[in-house]
Structure formats: C-alpha cells, structure tokens
C-alpha cells in the first residue's frame, strides 16, 4: 500500500527529489521512482467543498434576509402608522406570524433553508406583535415583560427546529427578564438571585447541556450578582469577597468550559478588591496600615504569579503596577504633600527598576523599559529649578500653582543645573558604551537647554536654524551609533 501525502507534502517531496536528481545525488529517473512510493491524497467527493460553501452562502443570504425583514416588521410596529386601524395592524401581524410559521413548516422538507428563514421571520413577527400589543393598549412598555413573553413563546419552536440561534436567543430573552426583574429589582428582590442562579445552572445542565452560550450567561449573572451585592458595597458586606473569591477559584477548577476566561475573571476580582477596598481606603482615610496590608497581598501575588503560574507576564505587570502604587501611597499616607518628593521618588524608582533588571532575567526587558520611561521623563522635570525650590515654595499636591518666578533663586538653579549635567554625563557614558539610550538622553538634554536659553539671546530665525542643525547632527550621530551597535551585536544594519 502506498503512503499517502497531502498535496503540500507531495509537492515538497517532488521538488526536493528533483533537486537531488539534478545535483547528481540520485540516478536519473530515480526521483520519479521514489515519488511513486507515495500517493497524493485524493478527495472522493471533489465537488463537496464547493457545494457546501454554496449552501453556506445561500444560508447566510437567507439568514440576513430574514433578519432584515424581521427588523422591518419591528420598525413597522415602532412607527405606529396611523393610516391603518389598530385592529387591522393587530390582525396583519397575527396572520403574518402564523403564515410565516405555516410557510416554514410547509417547506421544511423540500427547502430546508427557506423554511428556516421563514421560521426566523415568524419569530420576529411574534416579537413585533408583543410590542404592538403593548403599544396598542399603552401598557407602559416594560421591556423585560415583553422579552420574557417573546422568549417563552419561542422556546418550543427553537427546540422543535433544534436551532441553536433560536434556542440561545429565546433563553437570552428570558435571562434578560430575570436580570431586570430580580438583579436590578428593589428591596429583597436581588437576593432571590441566590436561589435563581444555582437553579439556572441545574436547568442548564439538564436541559441545555449542549449550549455553551447559556452556561456563559449563567456565569455572567453570577459574577454580576457578586459585583453588585458585595464588591461594590462600601460597608462590611464587601468582606464577603474574601470568601467568594476562593470559592470562585474552586469553581473554576471544577468547570470544564471557559476555564481560562473564569481564571482571568477571578484574577480581575482580586485586583478590583485590592484597588477598591485597600488602595482607595488608604486614600480616603489617609491610613498607612492599608498600604502595609496592600504590600503584603502584593507580595503574595508576586509569589503566586512567579511560582504557581510559571512566571506569568501579565500578572507580573499588574503586580508591578500595584507595587509602584504602594510606593506613592506610602508617601501620601505619611503626609507628604510636596510634589517634588513624588517626582524624585519616581526618578529613583526608575533607576532602581532598571538596575533590578540585571537581577531578574525571568521577565525580559519589562523592568528596564519601565525604569527608563520613569527616570527619563522625571529627569526632564528635575532639570527645572521649579522642582528644587525650597520646601515652603515648592508645588503641592493640593492645588499646584505656577510660581511667579521670572528668574529662579540661585538655591534652586544650582541643583537643577547640576542634576541636568549629571544626567547628561550619564547619557555620555551610555554613548561611550554605544547604547542608543545614551544618544536619546544627550539629544533631549541638549534640546531642552537649547529651548530654555536660545529665545532669550538670539533672534528667532537663528534659533530655529541652529536648532535644525543640532537635530541633524543628532540624527547623524544616532544613525552612526545604531550601525555600530548593530555591528557589535552581529546583525547587519538595516538600511532604511
């Protein structure tokens, strides 16, 4: 029996064997001989894919046609056209609905696709008639009641046709009604969801086991309930989340569907809880104890992401963001109001993160990139003498005011220029090591001081010209260093 290859594999083998024959590694005609050991896979019904796609095309057309007609019927109701009497509109819709159903039933065997489209239109007409009754008698238009009636009325048809779209739609309509009536209900009504949600899971398991969408709807209801009743609660009820979140992780382990989605949702719950019930409280009450609690929890999350989740990058980033937040909240809850301290802290954080990168190779470049962004942007701010003003005059968190300083006092000028110089020296050091960041630092520093002083002494046109020359020189220098760096790394420079 010949070995079967698909067309790609066969093509490859043929090409390579011919190549070997050409090069003299194989005897003449040997390639064809070897190739004859294999057989190209053939499709017994070559016409099938084409006909299948044409059925799909027709199906899609019919489905969209039905959708458009259905929406047409719905908007016919919404226009509330005065030229037809109420009764005639009611009768037209009523007869229309059952004509579409009967038509669907009639064509079911002969033209199944058409039949399905007719049933769909009928389903829309049914909904339209429900809305029409509400409009005709001015019943007040509670959408949830209309959707409940629509959903229940469609269920037998959906199960008769074994149609997934209809099944999911009718169940979704009923869910919408449950959600509005109970979840958003007043008084004790939302608590009925404690009974309804498990019941829905049981019913789904028994009756709609094949419908993943319904299972997902149950999960959405469950998370929504927890969010509304516990997570968003300002008082002690939020503490229930401490029991609910582990329970949800347990559930996540037990279910078979949407495990990944649930896992992400649970992690989001954890971060939401930390933000809402630890970080915000730290800000509200200006209490350092919340920050310490946050730090302990974050340390746990770092461990979890690193050890249990095999160095999950998204979790690491989230934890890093939390950690940076704790640093600022530490300052805030200790009563630091001077913006200069926050700027300086961000700068130092940037440097620390960049240095830490060399210690942690598990998360490549993350710390370095964030570190550079932090210290580079803050270095620019720190070159302003404004930040270095005395403790009394420096900008405050509570209402930042622009100081009225035409010329800054010398006590703030010296440290700002000194800082600028040191940072530029760091840039030169990096340039010497042929790192692109160095060029960027030196370049930005030059431009920063250029804009600061040039306008005072020079005519504008000269200022722009020199600025242009500086930029071009920087560009040239940048390009040259890039080539050198590329050469050093053993890659050919990209000529663009």
């Amino acid at each position: 029996m010949k070995r079967i290859l698909n067309s790609n594999q066969h093509e490859f083998l043929k090409r390579e064997l011919n190549y070997l024959e050409e090069k003299g590694h194989l005897e003449p005609q040997q390639a064809a001989k070897l190739l004859s050991v294999y057989q190209l896979q053939t499709y017994p019904k070559k016409t099938e894919p084409a006909s299948k796609s044409s059925i799909n095309f027709v199906q899609t057309l019919l489905l969209f046609g039905a959708l458009l007609i259905g929406l047409g019927i719905l908007s016919f109701v919404a226009t509330n056209w005065g030229a037809l009497s109420k009764l005639s509109k009611f009768i037209i819709l009523f007869i229309g609905l059952f004509s579409f159903y009967t038509g669907g039933w009639f064509f079911e065997k002969k033209r199944p696709q058409t039949a399905k489209a007719l049933f769909y239109i009928g389903a829309f007409a049914f909904g339209a008639e429900i809305f029409y009754i509400g409009q005709m008698f001015h019943l007040g238009g509670k959408l949830e009641n209309a959707f409940l009636a629509w959903g229940i009325g469609l269920l037998p048809l959906a199960y008769y046709l074994k149609d997934r779209i209809l099944k999911v739609c009718s169940i979704a309509f009923i869910y919408y009604a449950i959600e509005v009536k109970f979840m958003f209900g007043e008084g004790w009504l939302p608590y009925v969801m404690v009974l309804i949600i498990p019941l829905l899971f049981i019913l789904t398991n028994k009756l709609a086991n094949d419908l993943k969408e319904v299972f997902l709807m149950n999960l959405v209801l469950m998370y929504q309930f927890v969010e509304m009743q516990f997570m968003l609660d300002e008082g002690w009820k939020a503490l229930w989340m401490l029991a609910i979140i582990p329970l949800f992780f347990f559930i996540e382990k037990k279910v078979k569907e949407y495990q990944e989605l649930l896992f992400i949702a649970n992690l989001l719950l954890i971060y939401q809880f930390i933000e809402m019930h630890i970080a915000w409280k730290a800000v509200d009450h200006v209490q350092i104890s919340y920050v310490f609690a946050g730090i302990v929890v974050t340390a746990g999350l770092f461990w979890y992401g690193h050890v249990k989740l095999q160095r999950s990058l998204p979790l690491f980033l989230a934890n890093l963001a939390l950690s940076i937040q704790w640093v600022f909240l530490l300052l805030y809850t200790s009563g630091v109001n001077n913006v200069s301290y926050y700027v300086a802290t961000t700068f130092i954080l940037g440097v620390v993160l960049q240095v830490l990168q060399s210690k942690f190779s598990d998360y490549p470049d993350v710390l370095k990139i964030i570190g550079i962004i932090f210290h580079f942007s803050m270095a620019l701010v720190l070159t302003s003498p404004y930040i270095w003003l005395g403790f009394e005059q420096a900008p405050r968190l509570s209402g930042i005011q622009q100081g009225e300083f035409e010329t800054y006092p010398i006590e703030s000028m010296i440290p700002s220029v000194l800082f600028g110089t040191l940072y530029a020296l760091y840039g030169f050091y990096l340039v010497k090591k042929e790192q692109l960041l160095g060029i960027a630092i030196v370049g930005v520093m030059v431009l920063r001081y250029y804009t600061d002083y040039s306008f005072k002494f020079l005519d504008k046109s000269i200022a722009f010209m020199i600025g242009g020359i500086i930029l071009m020189a920087l560009g040239y220098w940048f390009e040259r260093t890039r080539r050198k760096e590329a050469k050093k790394n053993g890659k050919p420079p990209e000529n663009k």
Binding site: A78, N80, Y101, I133, F137, A149
Partner: protein, 193 residues
C-alpha cells in the same frame, strides 16, 4: 401535518410552537380588551413629555395631577406613619379615591390605606415625609402610581411634538377606561384652560 414523519415528541413541540405564541398574544389582550369594553370611562389631567423607545416607537410620558396630592386628603393613619421627620419610613400602599368633577374629568377627593369597596380609585405608593416647597402652600405627597398601563401613551412616529405644543397652550387630558382598579388609556387630547 402528516407530510412529515415525526415522533410524538416533535409533533407536540411543533404544536406548541404554534399554540404557545397564540396563547401568549391573545392572553396579553384579555384584560385590556375587557376593560375597554366594560370599563368606566374616566379622564385625568396630565403634564406630558416626548421620548422614544426602540421597540415601541414614540410615546408621551404621562404624569398626572393626582400624583401630587395635598397631605390634607390623606387618612390620619397614613399621616401618622408619614409625619414630618419620617423621611426614611417604609413605603405605604395607598388608594386614591376619584370623583367626577367636570364632564368626565376625575379628581382625587380622599386617600385611604385600604382598598375602597366601591367607586373609582387608583392604587399607588407614598414614601417619606410630606414635601413643603413653599411656606404658603400646604405640604403634599408625591404618589407613585402602580399602573404601568397609564404611564405612557404611544403615538405615530413624529407626532409627539404636536402634543408637546398643545400642552404648552393648556393641559392634556388623558381619557381611559377603568375596571376594578385596572386602567387602560384610550386617548389623549388637549383641553383649554
């Protein structure tokens, strides 16, 4: 339906597919239709509004004069529960007794806590303490009517503005049919002051 060989279960499902929508649709019309046919005609004064609903079309949202009633009309028992300072008292179901004043126009004459055995009434709820906007005016209650059926009047697309203009000249009068506490709107018209 004999052209399709089907099991009993699918036959029943097919039958239900046809019958259930019909039952739902006709069932929805029973109470409105009987009220329209056998109910007592009443009219209430309103103040209108012009929004839109995606599924039901344009409508006028109706707010009735009987939804703002002076505290003096309420039974003493109700007033005791909702005296000044009782801003967080639990809601109380009340029955507004309506009497014919001018033509078919009905006005509130009394508010009880128990359902009246005869006469025309509307059910509603009040919450909190009586409201005093102005020292010269007696305190009043806002009554939430527990009747969705008279809260919105659906109009032909684009005609809502006409009602709004009419209401600028006078007030709108909502005509309805009342039967055993259930009310159905029949028409809305302008009436000159």
């Amino acid at each position: 339906m004999e052209n399709l060989p089907k099991t009993n279960k699918t036959k029943r499902l097919l039958l239900a597919s046809f019958v259930l929508p019909a039952v739902i649709l006709l069932g929805m019309t029973v109470q409105p239709v009987t009220t329209l046919m056998t109910g007592t005609p009443i009219a209430l004064k309103t103040m209108p509004f012009d929004p839109k609903s995606l599924f039901y079309g344009d409508y006028i949202k109706l707010q009735y004069e009987v939804q703002q009633l002076p505290a003096s009309l309420f039974d003493k028992a109700i007033l005791k529960k909702h005296k000044a300072g009782a801003f967080n008292s639990s809601p109380t179901t009340v029955y507004i007794v309506l009497e014919k004043k001018d033509g078919n126009v009905f006005e509130a004459t009394k508010v009880h806590e128990t359902k009246p055995s005869e006469g025309i009434y509307l059910q509603g709820t009040i919450e909190g303490e009586p409201i005093t906007d102005d020292r010269n005016q007696p305190p009043y209650f806002n009554v939430e009517l527990n009747l969705d059926t008279i809260s919105k009047y659906y109009v032909e697309e684009g005609t809502g503005k006409k009602f709004e203009q009419q209401s600028g000249q006078g007030q709108l009068l909502a005509h309805m049919k009342w039967k055993d506490g259930y009310v159905i709107l029949t028409s809305v018209e302008a009436w000159g002051k």
